[in-house]
């Protein structure tokens, strides 16, 4: 089993903040906008380094999207940042009209995604954002797994020509991917080779998938772990390759069933190469207040539930 070591817990949003600063140093076209959440989005370092290129929009997300689109038309590369719910659901039409259909080079920095936002509760916890963003034609949807990968994904988003939705989270989580591994949009990453069952995961669930693979290995089950940090465009060839290898899959995400990574994977398999799939996700529910770890356990989004799901997938294959 490929070994990954947690080098110390860090929040993925800080990876975004560090990536934004680095991207901003490399390219003067990059500007950052927020709707009164500069600190939460870790934009402080960028704002301090480039005060003219940091645009505070106040608590007016709809206007922020339009302003970003206008800036992009004049040649800037705007990153707009807010909580995932407020930069997707609240402004879905603005993103659809001004960014996606208007084909403006706007990057949507979406923090505090999923239930790990924690104590604020369901009003602020979106489990539907991936579905909304996947539905937009041409939108790139990214959900990196840790600090290092989020930093690299931010750099990749800055380089990409066109709209990108970049999803990350609030809590400090294990940081285990290499520091300098370039993020390639549209490419899955097989983090652990296996032959019995495949676990396809994104975001916070990738670490859990690696833990689950270790537990499964101890029981004599060889699990392949695929980090599907690009949800759209989905790496279909990598998916088909792992499906052909194991014939049994688990898809894990901190998102509801409808429109998430699970349905994206199932859609490809149904069309090209049917295989058994088990889903580990938030089902069809709202979140609630609680600590991130308590919520993840309560909603079945941890290694223990992944192990059980892997065994179910294996049993169906036989």
């Amino acid at each position: 089993m490929t070994k990954y070591t947690d080098t110390g817990k860090k929040d993925t949003r800080s990876g975004f903040g560090a990536g934004l600063l680095e991207a901003g140093k490399a390219d003067s076209r990059i500007v950052a906008l927020t709707a009164d959440l500069k600190g939460s989005l870790k934009m402080n370092a960028f704002a301090d380094a480039f005060p003219e290129r940091f645009i505070q929009c106040g608590i007016a997300e709809a206007n922020m999207v339009g302003v970003a689109a206008g800036l992009a038309i004049t040649g800037k590369i705007p990153f707009i940042g807010s909580f995932a719910e407020f930069v997707t659901g609240r402004v879905y039409d603005q993103l659809r009209q001004e960014v996606a259909y208007g084909r403006t080079n706007v990057k949507i920095a979406s923090s505090h995604a999923g239930i790990t936002l924690g104590e604020d509760g369901a009003t602020h916890q979106t489990m539907e954002d991936i579905a909304l963003m996947r539905a937009l034609p041409e939108m790139v949807v990214l959900a990196p797994c840790d600090y290092n990968e989020t930093l690299q994904a931010t750099l990749a988003a800055a380089r990409w020509e066109g709209p990108v939705y970049l999803r990350f989270g609030r809590p400090a989580v294990p940081n285990f991917t290499p520091e300098d591994r370039p993020f390639e949009i549209g490419k899955a990453w097989v983090m652990n080779e296996g032959k019995d069952v495949s676990i396809i995961a994104c975001g916070h669930l990738v670490w859990e998938a690696l833990q689950a693979a270790q537990e499964l290995e101890a029981e004599g089950i060889s699990a392949e772990v695929v980090n599907m940090a690009t949800i759209k465009p989905l790496d279909e060839e990598a998916l088909l390759a792992t499906a052909a290898k194991t014939g049994a899959l688990v898809v894990a995400e901190e998102h509801n069933m409808a429109g998430g990574l699970g349905e994206a994977v199932a859609g490809v398999l149904a069309r090209r190469q049917p295989a058994w799939v088990e889903f580990v996700n938030g089902a069809d529910r709202f979140g609630q207040s609680g600590t991130p770890s308590a919520l993840m356990a309560a909603y079945g989004l941890d290694a223990q539930h992944l192990v059980a799901a892997a065994k179910r997938a294996l049993a169906r294959k036989k």
Binding site: G58, N63, L71
Partner: protein
């Protein structure tokens, strides 16, 4: 510079284009197109610094325009074509399958003159503010114009953009409202009680100019005041008092022609009222 007489001729031809376009397409929005035809003609032919030959979507070196009230494509397309952005004969394709002249402005066809998609109401002023801010960041002295509807101004995002433009001192932004007092369901006053737009924009911190949207002297004066405002640190709102359906007696002053198309005999009557121009129909 076009004389007021020349502007009148162009605006008359634009009104003929509007009516013929919507009748050929059997759909579209003639009412607001006709109420805004005069000041938009003056804007494009006398006020904006722009050139179709060197036009690019990023607006470098030119003034820019956003049609926030995106349903006013008939007047918009007619003026763009009459100014030379694309062939006048293309107006015949308006709203037809496969056309570049979509029901609401789209950047997808690469139509020269269109900077941004619009039509979902309330959003264009934000985009225009972004353009204005982009020009400021680049040290570009050109300006950004934006047309909103008074009905459209019921959208909350208009007022978000209004706050933003003042806070960021966007004195290179000139917004205009086609203040015709009508919207789909009836008079604006009956639908939403929007109240005094001049007082509202003033209280928001904008430089407000009220003008007669059908009097070229008044329009010219408004644009002149707006030009002089650059450097003041405040954005400008020109409220053009206008009549929906202006120019044709049975269409004027009522909401009923917001999105309705004249019947063939009504078109004939309307074109007779407007009269022919030396510019000729498309």
């Amino acid at each position: 510079m076009q004389s007021h007489e020349q502007l009148k001729i162009i605006a008359t031809q634009v009104r003929r284009d509007i009516l013929r376009m919507v009748c050929m397409a059997k759909s579209g929005h003639p009412g607001g197109s006709m109420s805004s035809a005069d000041f938009l003609t003056a804007l494009y032919f006398n006020e904006m610094k722009h050139d179709p030959a060197t036009w690019t979507r990023d607006g470098k070196g030119q003034d820019m325009f956003i049609l926030s009230a995106g349903h006013l494509t008939p007047v918009y397309y007619s003026i763009l074509a009459r100014y030379g952005y694309f062939p006048v004969k293309d107006l015949a394709t308006f709203r037809q399958m496969g056309t570049l002249l979509q029901g609401h402005p789209s950047i997808r066809g690469g139509v020269k003159g269109i900077f941004q998609t619009s039509g979902s109401l309330g959003q264009g002023l934000s985009a225009a503010a972004g353009l204005a801010l982009g020009k400021k960041l680049d040290g570009d002295g050109e300006r950004v114009f934006c047309l909103c509807g008074d009905g459209e101004s019921e959208e909350g995002q208009i007022w978000e953009a209004g706050m933003f433009a003042v806070h960021h001192h966007l004195d290179n932004l000139v917004a205009m409202t086609d203040w015709n007092g009508q919207q789909i369901d009836g008079p604006v006053s009956a639908v939403a009680g929007e109240g005094d737009l001049a007082a509202k924009w003033e209280s928001w911190g904008w430089q407000v100019i009220v003008a007669d949207g059908h009097d070229f002297a008044s329009i010219e004066q408004a644009f002149s005041l707006a030009r002089a405002n650059q450097g003041s640190g405040k954005p400008v709102m020109i409220l053009f008092q206008s009549d929906m359906g202006h120019g044709v007696d049975f269409m004027a002053g009522t909401h009923k022609w917001h999105g309705s198309v004249p019947k063939p005999e009504q078109l004939e009557d309307a074109l007779r009222q407007l009269g022919e121009t030396p510019l000729g129909d498309f």
